[in-house]
Symmetry: C2
């Protein structure tokens, strides 16, 4: 998905938040914002939003000297999600449709996205969990669960810290030996990296690799050869979050996007409302759109 | 009030909306946004937001060739407000506290502000009117009404098209000979200009002058000598809307700001919540803050 002009104000908002997390120095805030405005003014607007965000967040890290501005927030949300872990696990185990409940919770965890216009001071994870259990889905969970059973090898592209605990709950319902979980190669916004996979116990549950990239989502050309080779081999790809949709929306039919639609541009591009709980195949795959999954339930 | 860094993403959002209203040409949208990002990147961030907006909107008009991008929206909201006029007039006349009701409606009209993050497709004027009649006020209406009686000459700095009809309802409750209503000297966002004063009947009700400026709010140094002289002479100044607050927040004690707080930065600067119905004196006027008006009711 290429960027739309609506992404530009959103990117400057995101940059302001990131530089404020990176340093308390007002002068750095101003100089970074100036530099970002100048940089974005000459960018190729045909790029996807994550490609633009990669450039912007590299600038912020370089100019502020903070290599991981979201580290404290990531730690906080890993802890918050781990505090919910046993309660959620019980909820899944006692549910009538346990795997569906786990899928719903994995989507619920995608609200922990601080690139999106989410105010972390008002984020109520318990409320998100409760809502996710009964919310209409934009997409069909049965087809997704069938595909999970049929696949021999599954590449699970994670998204954010905190959210990774919700992914773990889903992965623990599945044949783990088939699954490889993927984190980012370097800090980018609040996306999970290997240290988050270790601290949340994901590495004890399943094989975890990093993708070698510090872009949001999955910019295949920016990823390591090792990752690209795993990506090429997988039967099924679970791609969590908006940035994975933005970078892979025109990719192949092995992908299932699991996300909470948080931005109007992504929601419009997918054909759903902001707030939707989404299970979708790539948009331009006509076969998928006419198949059991892609038609979707546009009921929110 | 100087700009805050939060104003930068907001200004780019506002610019995108304006250039889309100005032309349907996608190439112009892109080139204008690039030019605005580059221009803002070197701006003096100590300026007030309206000073920055003046530069941005001049660029949009120049580069798009559309001298008044918001003309159709202004006409539409003048018509919508005129359709409500007789009903609102009856409501004021039958109210127990007629002048307070007229003041509340004048504040309600300030929601018609398309510089703020307001979606005009979801704006429900009837709902705004009903809410305004009973909403808590941030500020004391009695002191404002007393000042209206005491003043010999009142300069009423209008804000937006559509809103001007709500101002007319208030002015019709007051001794009109004391009042001069002020519109902008040239098109800027959806601010009212002389043609709006004529088409909404304001010129039949009261003396109307323009301020000679195409900035939002009232940048005194940018206004005509005639306006400056009227401004200097007035006993009381009613300043409608956020941009008047942003440009006059540190000005003298003759001013009463009447506005709906729509942006988090202005609301924070005033000490109220977003959504508040505000009647306030300049913030830094200590005497006013300790007086009967400025202390305010922070009850929303």
């Amino acid at each position: 998905m290429k960027a739309y002009l609506e992404c530009i104000p959103c990117l400057t908002r995101q940059a302001l938040k990131a530089v404020r997390l990176a340093t308390c120095d007002d002068n750095v805030h101003v100089s970074v914002i100036r530099r970002i405005l100048a940089t974005v003014s000459t960018m190729d607007f045909e790029k996807s939003p994550p490609e633009m965000a990669q450039v912007v967040h590299r600038l912020i890290r370089d100019l502020s000297g903070n290599t991981d501005p979201y580290r404290a927030l990531k730690d906080r949300y890993n802890r918050l999600a781990l505090n919910l872990y046993f309660g959620l696990k019980q909820r899944i185990e006692s549910a009538q449709r346990s795997t569906e409940t786990a899928v719903r919770l994995a989507i619920a965890g995608n609200i922990i996205d601080f690139g999106a216009p989410i105010d972390e001071n008002r984020l109520d994870l318990n409320h998100c969990v409760l809502q996710a259990l009964s919310a209409p889905l934009f997409g069909r969970v049965d087809g997704f669960i069938d595909a999970l059973s049929a696949a021999e090898s599954i590449l699970y592209l994670g998204d954010n810290a905190g959210e990774i605990v919700f992914d773990r709950l889903l992965i623990e319902r599945l044949p783990r030996e088939k699954i490889t979980y993927v984190v980012k190669g370097g800090p980018i916004i609040n996306d999970a990296t290997m240290s988050d996979a270790v601290s949340t116990g994901m590495t004890d549950v399943v094989r975890v690799i990093d993708n070698g990239s510090d872009a949001p989502g999955t910019l295949l050309s920016d990823c390591s050869e090792r990752f690209q080779s795993e990506y090429a081999r997988a039967d099924m790809i679970i791609a969590k979050g908006q940035a994975n949709y933005e970078t892979l929306s025109e990719a192949d039919n092995r992908i299932f996007f699991l996300l909470r639609a948080k931005c109007p541009v992504v929601a419009w591009h997918m054909g759903c409302d902001v707030g939707s709980y989404v299970i979708q195949k790539p948009l331009y795959n006509k076969a998928a759109l006419n198949g059991p999954i892609g038609a979707g339930e546009r009921s929110i």
